[in-house]
Amino acid sequence: MSNSESFKRKVTAERVMLVVFLVVSAVFILEPVIESYPDDARVFPQLTASAVFIGSLLLLLQNYLPGPLQKFVAESVSITTSDSSEVIDQVEEDDEPLEEVDEPEEEYKKETLGAKYGYEVNETVFMVSTAVLYFVVGWAAGFLFITPLYILGYTLWFRVNPVVSVGLAIGGTAVIYLFMTYLVLPFDQGHVFDFSPLVPMLFDGAPILLRGGL
């Protein structure tokens, strides 16, 4: 096994997550010291961050810990476990390195627009990427205008019937419009682009346009 393969094998999602926990908890421990927080603002977050830091470090280094400590860290117990020694024995046998435990559920290959043109994208990655894009563009240009584009884009990518896609996009936009109207939320205003002047024309003016114009 080459060095790069061995490195890739060791860098699991769980290890990356634990390193993130370590860094974030270290920030939570150090920030009050640097910024001189008073005691009543400092003690509780530092205590909890210390617990996260120590726990993450133990989990990250569990394969290199001395026997009893390793058993305690790796041990999987429940109040229904009748004999913990069985668990300990099991842990002793289990010297596998830390790896992702969850097998992906029965996954289906969805028919996508990208696949038609030779672009294979993982469904979960696509879902998260589009959701992040929707958030960023929604913040910049206003959710009201981006919501139909997001829903159309997402559903059409998965080759949903275009009529259903359009119906869903209208439904989603109506939900945002209701939030905007009844809860008085500025979903028509973006932080970079302001399309709010279009709202009266698109929404309040729609019934007039449908009746044949002014």
Binding site: A13, E14, M17, F21, V27, F28, E31, P32, Y37, P38, D40, A41, F44, P45, T48, A51, V52, G55, S56, L59, K71, F72, V73, E75, S76, V77, S78, I79, T80, T81, S84, S85, E100, V101, D102, E105, E106, E107, Y108, K110, E123, T124, F126, M127, V128, A131, Y134, F135, W139, Y150, I151, Y154, T155, F158, V160, G172, V175, I176, F179, L185
Partner: protein, 499 residues
Amino acid sequence: MAVDAFFEGLSIATTPEMLVWLTLGLLLGIVLGALPGIGSPVGMAIVLPLTLPLDATAAIILLVAIYSGAMFGGSISAILINAPGTESAAATTLDGYPMSQNGLAKNALAIATTASALNGFLAAIALIILSPVLIEVVLAFGSPEYFLLAILGISLITIVTQGSIVKGLVAGALGFMISTIGTAILSPRPRYTFGQFGLYEGIDFVAALIGMFAFAEMMKLAARKQISEDDVEIAGSVRDGITTIFKYPMTTLKSGLIGMGIGMVPGSGATTSTFVAYAEEARSSTKDGRFGEGDPRGVIAPEAANNPTVSGSLIPTLSFGIPGSGSTAVLLGGILMHGLQPGPVLFGEQLQITYALFISLFLGNVLILAVGLTLIPYASKITELDTTLIIPMVVVLSYAGAYTLNQNWWDVGAVIVLGVLGFYMVRNNYSIIAFVLGIVLGPIAEENFFRSLQISGGEYTIFFDPINRPLSFLLTLAIFLILFGPFLKGRVKRLVSRN
């Protein structure tokens, strides 16, 4: 006082407005519960911000109705397509789906509806009767005890979810840690905001709930296609199904007691109670049981246990603020969001709200019976939805809901970040319930932690002083035994056998 509060609660729960919210919640819960991958925590998390304009009682009744409805709804897809809508319906698939394959889908659905409603109804009565005792217990708790209870809740969840203790503790502590972002509780000092004004109010725990449940669940669902791959045919007889329940009264009663008892244990939920009830029924019916092949008792047992678990789990949630499951964690979020405080207040000056909730639960189970039995012929329609249509709508609702909370874009960002975190935590067996509990209970735990230290003049002994604070001592001992007990037990046993 309790009798007056009961009648006041009754008048609140039976107003037309509350009955409308109850019915709406139940219908929504049944539909959401029947969609595998959605379930009650996701549905409740999405609806939670929408309850902001509602009165606190109406909001809590709506949430409890969704929870209760989803418990029944989960069994629809479990029986028809072998895919439980909620984790709690997993045990129902064992005999429910074989019954469906044997041409008895209507019987199985009728059994599920009747057993679920009947025992939910009985458990709600038991809850009302138990309330005066709970009031006495709750009032005995002070600041140190509440702080220790939060720690005990996380410890119990760690143990009940059967993972590594260290992973559970890391998840819970991480939740506590994130709850400290924003202005400090006891001094007007902003913490961990890094100059961002949007973080001064901290990460709203409702946004965290939406992220951990709704967004993370959509990430899981993205890899699935249609909920049901096959055409589902519903055959059998509703009437025969209902009469089957009365052939096995002991199974129904026993499973209900198991459900309520397990529901009361913080950290356990309907997933545990339904499997225990199923296992107990299979154990006690070894002579004539055909479990796994479509034995009706295999449907009665888990279904008779699931709704009493809802009632049981309300006890630690309302009395101590320790939720038993993802759904009760969201419910607790709703209680706090509407300015209600679990504990002495809900069992003291606001006792009428607690009673209104219990009475709604009772009425809800009557409605489940009526609505459930009417829905049976159309049940398969729910399972034919395409996940591609669900995901963008849930994302849109999640963002809109999170933004509604404080009109703060950081909350929407938190939905994404915590959603991705929740997805990987679940994949690697980290308890997201412990994490969510940490976020929801963080401010309460911190406040009680400091109050305790103020009472003791900075002495940490207040948490384990057997003379002056025996309850604190017992709670600390319980935490210690829960965390280290299984480990020490093995050591002691080895030592004894060696000697």
